[in-house]
Amino acid sequence: MEVVINGKPHRAAAAISLAQAVALLTDAKTGVAAAVNGDVVRRTVWEATPLSDGDEVEVLTAVQGG
């Protein structure tokens, strides 16, 4: 299975959840949000959100700006 996480392809031998995809980038408990194929997914359901082949995951946080 291959998903795209923040623009980079990621190959996984087995299916992974959104929570596992986010954990590849950060272990922050707050201040992070994720979207799958453009739709925001609430943190409370990341564990229960399986990713499918070809899914595009965006993981965002706050940075200096504005």
Binding site: G7, A33, V59, L60, T61, A62, Q64, G65
Partner: protein, 252 residues
């Protein structure tokens, strides 16, 4: 003097809203924010960088400064609405500084996309603070769409050109029923004072502080300028006259 800034029913004693972009380090930013006295500060939303050191969020939390996410970098209403929703999820706030930019060269707002995004976000329960052109008609339309404030630019973002059309800012202030926040273009303290003298409720700035030779000193200058400009506005300036008016008694 008790003169709070009220936005969507929330009170702030500081009328200086800070941005965080452009600071050479988090430490410099931290000292500048402290010197500015700000209680509300913008951040941008970007992809998580696993290599990033330190977090602007931690700094703001330590200072007790409320975070205001922006939608910087968005060129369409669709993008801006998505980033606002991600920010709400990440930061637990439904407040958003709405930016929808037309092009990289000027960073001017795209009025059509901006109004569209504002309408959608208001309908979705957001408290929307739109960065807008200094156009009184667009400002009115944004207010009618339910925005909690309007934030006209003084001049392009980061330009430091000050307030290029004070007449338009006055027109916006005269007819607005929500706070008018001068956003973008401030170069130095006198620009911030001028915005407040024109009747703006607050000033939002970043570059003029974060890229100053001494961000901390400039932040203090901005705090004083915003306060002085506000007092001058409340006090009411004397009318301009063509000829002199003696300030000492003419006889005696």
């Amino acid at each position: 003097m008790d003169d709070p800034l009220l936005i969507a029913g929330d009170a702030f004693s500081s009328r200086l809203i800070m941005g965080t972009g452009g600071a050479p380090s988090l430490d410099v930013l931290d000292r500048a924010l402290a010197a500015s006295g700000t209680e509300l500060t913008t951040v941008a939303m970007r992809r998580v960088d696993p290599a990033a050191a330190g977090s602007v969020l931690g700094l703001l939390a330590d200072r007790g400064i409320r975070v205001l996410p922006n939608t910087a970098g968005c060129f369409t209403a669709v993008e801006a609405v998505r980033v606002a929703r991600l920010a709400r999820e990440a930061l637990g706030t439904a407040w958003v500084k709405l930016e929808v930019i037309a092009d990289e060269r000027t960073l001017l707002p795209d009025p059509i996309e901006l109004l569209t995004a504002a309408e959608q976000l208001v309908a979705d329960g957001f408290t929307v603070l739109p960065y807008t052109n200094d156009d009184p008609v667009l400002a009115r339309r944004l207010e009618q769409a339910g925005c909690a404030a309007v934030m006209p630019l003084g001049s392009p973002i980061g330009s430091g050109l000050g307030i290029r059309n004070p007449h338009n800012i006055e027109l916006i202030v005269e007819s607005a029923g929500v706070p008018v926040i001068l956003d973008a273009g401030i170069g130095t303290a006198s620009d911030a004072a001028t915005a407040m003298e024109l009747g703006c409720s607050a000033v939002l700035l970043a570059t003029s502080v974060t890229r100053a030779r001494s961000p901390e000193l400039m932040a203090e200058a901005m705090r004083l300028a915003v306060g002085a400009g506000r007092l001058a506005f409340l006090a009411g300036r004397v009318p301009r006259r063509r000829l002199a008016l003696a300030s000492s008694p003419p006889v005696g």
